[in-house]
């Protein structure tokens, strides 16, 4: 028996097929979920992939957040179902307030598309147990609304509770993937909720799971093997 991992498609989602593939490469079953369908088809976990759902109208993620599928995702996430939001999916998760803070236009105002170095700060979430705390990984990043902001009190709380899950490696050459690409406060690339089942990040682990494509690194595969192990051992 393997785990069933749902991948949501909103109108304007781009990375659903890559995400389904990453789920399969890790050895789990990928279950496509449609934004207008409340039925989660008894999946064990859900990934909200990247793209520009609803054209990013109003704010990135703001309209997707009220879609029928999200009603079910929000309810089940509160009951402990693992949820991973990548890029636009992270934006959706902040709009639902399952994760604190918000995403804004990059400080540079430019769309950034490059390889990005990150540090895994929390290797105890449902999606990160196959990494070591402090491990440095490199995965693609591509966004224009990637600047993570929250008030100082929220940022302090996230740091104190170990809920900054990933941080951009700020020191180094941009050409080699170092630096804070979007002006995110405290170099935050991704965070987790208190329970560790809901995780969101701007970079794209699903684009770094096979040696044949991209830079040849498979640093993103750990997200999908982590969740598979957790679900199969549950």
């Amino acid at each position: 028996m393997t785990a069933r991992i749902g991948v949501v498609t909103f109108p304007g989602t781009l990375d659903d097929r890559d995400t389904q593939r990453a789920v399969r490469v890790a050895g789990a079953e990928a279950v496509p979920l449609w934004h207008r369908d409340k039925d989660l088809k008894q999946v064990d976990a859900v990934v909200l992939p990247g793209g520009f759902s609803y054209g990013d109208y109003l704010r990135a993620g703001a309209i997707s957040r009220f879609s029928p599928v999200m009603e079910s995702v929000i309810a089940q996430a509160k009951d402990g179902m693992p949820v991973l939001g990548i890029c636009n999916g992270f934006q959706v998760l902040t709009e639902t307030h399952l994760l604190p803070g918000a995403m804004l236009r990059n400080e540079s105002l430019h769309f950034v598309c490059r390889e990005q170095k990150l540090r895994v700060e929390n290797a105890a979430t449902a999606w990160t147990t196959d990494y070591a705390a402090g491990q440095e990984i490199s995965v693609p990043l591509k966004n224009i609304d990637g600047r993570y902001v929250a008030d100082a009190r929220t940022l302090d709380m996230l740091e104190a509770e170990g809920r900054v899950a990933f941080r951009y490696l700020a020191e180094g050459e941009a050409a080699e993937g170092y630096g804070n690409p979007n002006g995110s406060l405290r170099d935050i690339a991704g965070i987790t909720n208190e329970a560790g089942n809901v995780v969101g990040l701007m970079p794209h682990p699903e684009h770094a799971v096979e040696p044949l494509i991209g830079t040849g690194r498979t640093d993103g595969l750990g997200f999908f093997t982590s969740i598979l192990k957790k679900l199969v051992n549950a």
Partner: protein, 83 residues
Amino acid sequence: MARVVVDVMLKPEILDPQGQAVQRALPRLGFEGIADVRQGKRFELEVEGPADDAALARIREMAETFLANTVIEDFTVRVEAGS
């Protein structure tokens, strides 16, 4: 029909690089003396009935839950004069 206007602005402490880019472009275009620019959103709502207290309360609820993200934005609601 009444028109209700909802203005949504980034909170003062949130960096607004789009407003900054506009501000930096102004002198080049010959518009001097503008010390700061902040960019926001304006929504014009045509209400089917009167813009009474009940209608405005619903619009405030709409702004709070949907039109604005109150983590980063403030909003104001007003009835447009003459409507």
